[in-house]
Amino acid sequence: MPELKIGQYGEDVITWMRDHLGGLFDFIASMMTHLLRWTYDLVAGLQAVPMVVVFAVIALLATRKIGLTVVLAVGLLVVDSMGLWYETMQSLATVLVATVAALVVGIPLGIWAAFSPAVRAVVTPLLDFMQTIPVFVYLLPTVLFFGIGPVPGVVATIVFAAPPAVRLTQLGIRQVDAETVEAAKAFGANSMEVLREVQLPLAKPSIMAGVNQVIMLALSMVVVAGLVGGGGLGSIVVTAVQSLQIGASIEGGLAVVILAIYLDRVSAALGGQGRANPAWWPKRRAAIGVEVAQPTTAGPKTPELVATG
């Protein structure tokens, strides 16, 4: 067998990218830094307790369940009582930025893949690759490109978390009943109208399941990102483990779990369709009342239909 120096080739490619695409990486880094800072300012703008109230209201609006909302709010208060509030908000900012970026790339790619078998043929193995390759393998190059700090963690998180957005968007669109799509076409809709008015709305549960998956995967990367100076709960856990502070690592881990439960329940509820309004939910008035017009008694047009084939 001839010896293939795949490792060497890979290293060459990465070195070349670092040397020649530096401007691009700097741009991405500064953009990510700004996004992270801006998002962090948003979620950490208030003191912990008022912010918990805000989160509770969001959870109530999304899930429409009082009991669950109370449990989630208590969980967040526990995080604050452990003194990990700002680290948790830092991790939340990372998760939000990574999720939005993964969705911005993943959903359009999923739509494209749903319609083009060629794109699907390229994207599917790429997604398999992204999901199976160990995270640390590409964490290292990202550090080379973006340096130590929160940015490489976010970039690695995007790579790690984006695949479900592509997969479930693609799947959701392809699972839409073909006859329903045909019905829209039969009434003269063009492909954009079919996509916007039929395929995307009907694929929404699947797409939202993808969003939920993306969020959960992004959160699972938080600790890993701590290894490269990502800050937040990741740093707490990594430092605690490295210095054998078992108590601190338990606290950091618990905060991750509480954040995970909150994000999971809220994002899953947002994707739920046909959710029944509980009794205490304010009733909405019927959207539009249109008076019933008399039946149209337009006379018959006079087409003639001839087929030869």
Binding site: D177, E179, T180, E182, A183, A184, K185, A186, F187, G188, A189, N190, E193, E197, V198, P201, L202, K204, Q273, G274, A286, A287, I288, V290, E291, V292, A293, Q294, P295, T296, T297, A298, P300, K301, T302, P303, E304, L305, V306, A307, T308, G309
Partner: protein, 388 residues
Amino acid sequence: MKAYGLSGRAATTALAAPDPAAAVAEAGGFLGANDVSFQISTGEMFVVMGLSGSGKSTVLRMINRLNDPSAGQMLIDGEDIVTVSDARLREIRNTKIGMVFQHFSLFPHRSVRDNAAYGLKVRGVGRSQRYERADAALERVGLGGRGGKFPHELSGGMRQRVGLARALAVDPPILLMDEPFSALDPLIRRDMQDLLIQLQAEDRRTTIFVTHDLNEAMRIGDRVMVMRDGRVVQVGPGVEIVANPADDYVSEFVSDVDRARVLTAQDLLRPPLLTFAVGENPATALTRLADNEANGAFVVDADDRLLGVVTDTNLSGAIARGRSDLADVVTKDYHAVQPDSIIGDFMHLAGRQVVPVTVVDADGRLTGVVPRAAILSTLSSVREESHA
């Protein structure tokens, strides 16, 4: 013509062959519709009938090009829809053709009103006008006031009413219906057929209706086209197809039909065996009865109007009493029906009198008879075939 599973050029080559079906099959495709030509006139209810795989849906879907024909023309008002641009195709679909689907294919995320208004929304009609027309269409199909519901809140029959309203709301000159009622249970199906018949009586809309149910075809269709293996086997009014099936396939198909509900007196009409003019002598009449081995005969006047019936018994009585005119001895011992009477409505009366069931036209003229044997042979051939 429609060849499935072949690229454009391969299809063209195969379809040009002397036997297109074989050529397409050899090239690895499947010929869905072969040499199907038909002409539908304005306002006609045209039923395409066949078993599954016979090409009936293929033909329907080529009309609005949900399936692209591989070869041939499809002229709507003289415009060949096969060759029009995509933009024009969408315009034709939107303005000229409404479609109703087998599994309803409603938009589950839209209200009933929004479903019905969909074609108008695509057309760019403003919201209030769109809803007004959608509500009018819903009213016509018996769903007035249900516009705010969602499809999943309705029963199957109601959903298909929404499907029908969606097609009617754009007021299309052509309506395509792809086995619209076959997913419904029999009672609902009958209601929907009644609704369609009623709407058709009001609109006289050109309708192409695909079904595998011959009873349905007979009930609603002005003309029926029977298809098999992508070919047209027979086209004609339903009664004609039942009475004169073109081949064994069609006759097997029509064996399921309840002929008693389809055929009319006219279809089984025979000339009367024997008629007497009103002035005839009873003695001569009795002799003629004997010569014809009959027990009774009709008596008509100079204009062929039916006066009544004489039998051997009352003729011999008349002779004994010395009567010289048949007009004095006629009885009303017959049962008269109109030419368009349904056989099922009078067949129980056949054989009760000496003479067969009598068919008279609106002016009272004797047009013929329906012998009991003719009814029995028509109905029994159904049973034989359906048991086979």
